[in-house]
Symmetry: C2
Subunit: 232 residues, 2 copies
């Protein structure tokens, strides 16, 4: 017999776009909480379907993820992850440990991953949006330095955390937030193995986990990526 | 007799800087959880004391807030707020409601306040860091538009939430994150009353709450602020 919570997974809808890191985080948490039966609605970011009336009704920002659980709407990816863990506490993977010191570290790293995204996007978007002949080398060097310093911090965190996941032997919210960010860096050709060996080995250990694979951007499997981060 | 948790507040240290919105959020949560006896260490951001060895030992980023609870370290402000609510669940104000739909909305708005900060800082820093004679009016108009659209969203949220706090009649994590952001907008002379009357009336209702006052930036009480947002 299915428990109440498992039945409820049919009442969850997630709108998502291929390649969106925030969407991927939410998908990982859905899988980890044993909610794989949710209504998964892949939209085309290229066709700007996130601006459709169907999504604007749920998310007035016209962005994905757009998430519904019954009548409950949550759209910020970090809020979706926290909500799923709190509401489906007894189900699937426990993503937030009870132990206060572990819980503190999970929350800290979970929120801290935003820095990786901010700094890699600063470099990525600069190169994407500025014509190559207009690239300001000083500005690029500064952005590369900022990202490299950020990743060095994580390299240190991982050097202290053994051969398990980011915090303990168990997969947590912090891993759900970190692994898509690392996959983004790989997609942008960051030489991870050479510069950040602990990050590289963590990435290899975690990337094939079913929850991670469940959200892998479909178009990433078919196209080679870009070399915007190859010199970090 | 004091409960265990109340005694523990003496084991909490918060390093903070005057005018830091993230620090203020953490201070509000500390007060709301009945932990006002914490060791409050005001540092000078002007003298870059956040780069001191004392703080770097706790926060390798050299930033405040830097927070310790016994041996437990948490530095990301949103993580501090979540940690305090989880660990001191039964004490002080309940900052995350049990009801799933309220909890969802609190988590959503809590995370969503970051958009207000991102968009107001984009305009604020552009004007602060660019010589006035070099201001690109098109760029400024774009940033003003982005901030005004953001605030219009919040205006709509507040128009639906009655005369209490952001989500319900009770103060939550969402209020702890929103009120310092609004105080920042006021400090930068955003004409809130004229453009965003619901935000203005919410601000007036909440600003004198003791927890909010406890973190009010000391130097803001003595200096007039800047007019970087007066034309939004």
């Amino acid at each position: 017999m299915l428990g109440t919570h498992e039945v409820m997974s049919t009442d969850i809808t997630l709108y998502w776009g291929s390649g969106s890191i925030p969407c991927w985080r939410a998908m990982i948490c859905l899988e980890e909480k044993g909610l794989s039966g949710y209504d998964s609605k892949l939209i085309s970011l290229e066709k700007k379907e996130q601006k459709s009336d169907e999504i604007l009704k749920i998310n007035p920002r016209g962005q994905v993820p757009a998430f519904k659980h019954g009548d409950v709407v949550v759209n910020e990816s970090m809020a979706i992850c926290l909500y799923l863990e709190n509401i489906f506490k007894k189900q699937g993977t426990q993503l937030l440990p009870d132990d206060p010191s572990h819980q503190a570290l999970v929350l800290q790293r979970f929120m801290e991953t935003q820095n990786i995204m901010d700094k890699s996007k600063a470099l990525f978007y600069y190169r994407l949006q500025t014509k190559q002949e207009d690239w300001d080398q000083e500005c690029i060097v500064e952005k590369i330095k900022a990202l490299a310093e950020e990743l060095s911090l994580w390299e240190k965190y991982l050097s202290q955390s053994g051969d398990g996941f980011l915090i303990t032997e168990d997969f947590t919210l912090a891993d759900a937030a970190l692994i898509p960010a690392l996959a983004f860096l790989k997609r942008m050709k960051l030489p991870m193995k050479e510069g950040f060996p602990h990050l590289a080995s963590y990435y290899e250990r975690v990337k094939d986990r079913p929850s991670v694979q469940s959200g892998w951007p479909p178009h990433w499997k078919e196209t080679p990526g870009y070399d915007y981060l190859k010199d970090v």
